[in-house]
């Protein structure tokens, strides 16, 4: 007990906790008070907060994958800014050899993106089993 009493009382609130608080407000206070389209959009809004929460947690992994890819397939490139655009444009010009290594990168990248944007999407489990 004495250990706990020495511990400072938590006074800051992280962005993840703020998101959780807003989500709770939407689902517990707003949802029962609205109807029709607003009810539907309240659920959508709560879901959007989940996307933001997961993106905060997972974007470092995405950036690491993209940095590695930039070094390998876009050696001229100084930064990873707009890397997806540069890869897409190089693919459109058929400038990147679509070999197993490149496919492995696209798949790994996509597993992160689906984990952010819709982790419950049914194809994700199939893809995880094949590539994970």
């Amino acid at each position: 007990m004495s250990d706990e009493s020495d511990r400072p009382t938590q006074s800051d609130v992280t962005s993840a906790e703020l998101l959780g608080a807003v989500k709770g407000f939407l689902m517990e206070s707003v949802l029962p008070a609205v109807a029709g389209r607003d009810q539907f959009n309240t659920r959508v809004a709560a879901n959007v907060l989940g996307i933001i929460e997961r993106e905060q947690a997972l974007s470092p992994a995405l950036q690491a994958l993209d940095r590695e890819a930039a070094q390998r397939w876009l050696p001229e490139q100084a930064s990873t800014e707009e890397l997806p655009q540069q890869l897409a444009r190089a693919l459109a010009k058929r400038d990147i050899p679509v070999d197993p290594d490149f496919m492995a990168y696209l798949k790994a990248r996509q597993l992160v993106l689906i984990a952010i944007n819709n982790p419950r999407y049914a194809s994700r489990a199939v893809a995880e089993a094949r590539w994970g």
């Binding site: 029709g36 389209r37 009810q39 539907f40 959009n41 959508v44 809004a45 879901n47 959007v48 996307i51 997806p84 655009q85 890869l87 897409a88 444009r89 693919l91 459109a92 058929r94 679509v98 496919m103 696209l106 798949k107 990248r109 996509q110 597993l111 993106l113 689906i114 952010i116 944007n117 819709n118 999407y121 049914a122 194809s123 994700r124 199939v126 893809a127 094949r130 590539w131």
Partner: protein
């Protein structure tokens, strides 16, 4: 437009328009149905007759820079195609009135209300629809064959024949217009170009024939809705679209729309059309459908940025990840077989 204003405009116009067909003097119980990220759908009563109003809430000019057919036909043309389908065995509602973009109501049409369930989460799992689900893949095959047999010479001018090369060029143009943000979608388009089927004669396609746009009753298919993506293309495109992962609503083990199996769909189609589509060609179009879904998600994001739409439309832009995942997964599976 507020529901009150819309109801007033309808009251002002429907008495004259419907005097020969439907009794009534006043609109009642006007309410917007949820869902539908592109056009609004309203339910209303005219006298004792339940009706459905489809209405485009923004002017076509505001999104003119987006081009292409993903935004869909004008509602005037959509109503015309539904009228053509009425003459076939395909279950569609009667069209009662059509309003062009200059009308105070806005671009819209009024049609009959067909009883049935459209919400996939209900009819895909509820026991009451068990018989319906067992019949539905075959019935969808029959309905698609019926749509594909509609005389193309009667179509509105906007729905012209096209080639796969034109489709690929249009998709490339859109990917570019949307900023080339997706390597996975570009990879998918490249693959679709490299693996395109050879012989692709055009028929009239529904273009959005899928779970979510079907009305289902306890016996099966009661109505085919949402004709705004109607276009011409190869028959297998509609079948593959119905089987796309994104429209299985989580039931990946039931390839036809999350409720049925390929054999039944193909058998129903062959019974009306007299020929059986190849499964591998259908699967090619499932991949094309994944790319199309990705482009729809991008279109929704672009529409939202142009000031049209609510939080749902903004959120749909993120569902592009589903399309990208399916492109990679389906191509991976294809190359195993």
């Amino acid at each position: 437009m507020t529901p009150e204003t819309l109801a007033q405009h309808l009251d002002d116009n429907l008495t004259a328009l419907l005097s020969g067909s439907l009794a009534g003097r006043k609109v009642s119980e006007l309410s917007r149905l949820s869902g539908g990220a592109n056009n609004e759908t309203w339910r209303l009563n005219w006298g004792d007759t339940p009706l459905i109003l489809r209405r485009r809430p923004f002017s076509a000019d505001s999104v003119a820079n987006l081009e292409g057919n993903i935004l869909g036909l004008s509602l005037v043309d959509e109503a015309e195609v539904i009228r053509l389908a009425t003459a076939t065995e395909v279950p569609v509602p009667a069209i009662h009135a059509v309003f062009d973009a200059d009308h105070p109501i806005g671009e819209a049409f009024l049609m009959g209300f067909i009883p049935g369930e459209s919400i996939p989460q209900r009819w895909l799992t509820d026991d009451a629809f068990e018989t319906a689900r067992a019949n539905l893949a075959y019935q969808c095959g029959e309905a698609l064959a019926g749509i594909h047999a509609i005389d193309r010479r009667k179509l509105p001018d906007k729905i012209g024949p096209t080639t796969l090369d034109n489709r690929f060029a249009a998709a490339q143009k859109r990917l570019h217009a949307f900023g080339d943000i997706s390597p996975a979608m570009q990879f998918g388009l490249n693959w679709l170009i490299d693996n395109a089927p050879d012989n692709t004669p055009c028929v009239l396609l529904h273009g959005d024939f899928r779970t979510g746009n079907l009305l289902v009753n306890e016996k099966g298919l009661a109505g085919v809705l949402d004709w705004e993506l109607t276009h011409q293309g190869p028959a297998e495109e509609d079948l593959g679209y119905l089987c796309a992962n994104v429209w299985r609503f989580g039931h990946l083990d039931k390839p036809v729309g999350g409720f049925g199996h390929y054999d039944d769909l193909i058998a129903g189609y062959a019974a009306i059309a007299g020929w059986a589509p190849e499964l591998r060609t259908i699967r090619y179009w499932e991949i094309f459908a994944a790319l199309s879904w990705g482009l729809v998600c991008q279109t929704m994001g672009a529409l939202w940025h142009s000031g049209n739409g609510d939080v749902e439309r903004a959120a749909v832009a993120r569902r592009r990840s589903e399309a990208e995942l399916d492109i990679l997964l389906l191509i991976d599976e294809w190359e195993d077989t």
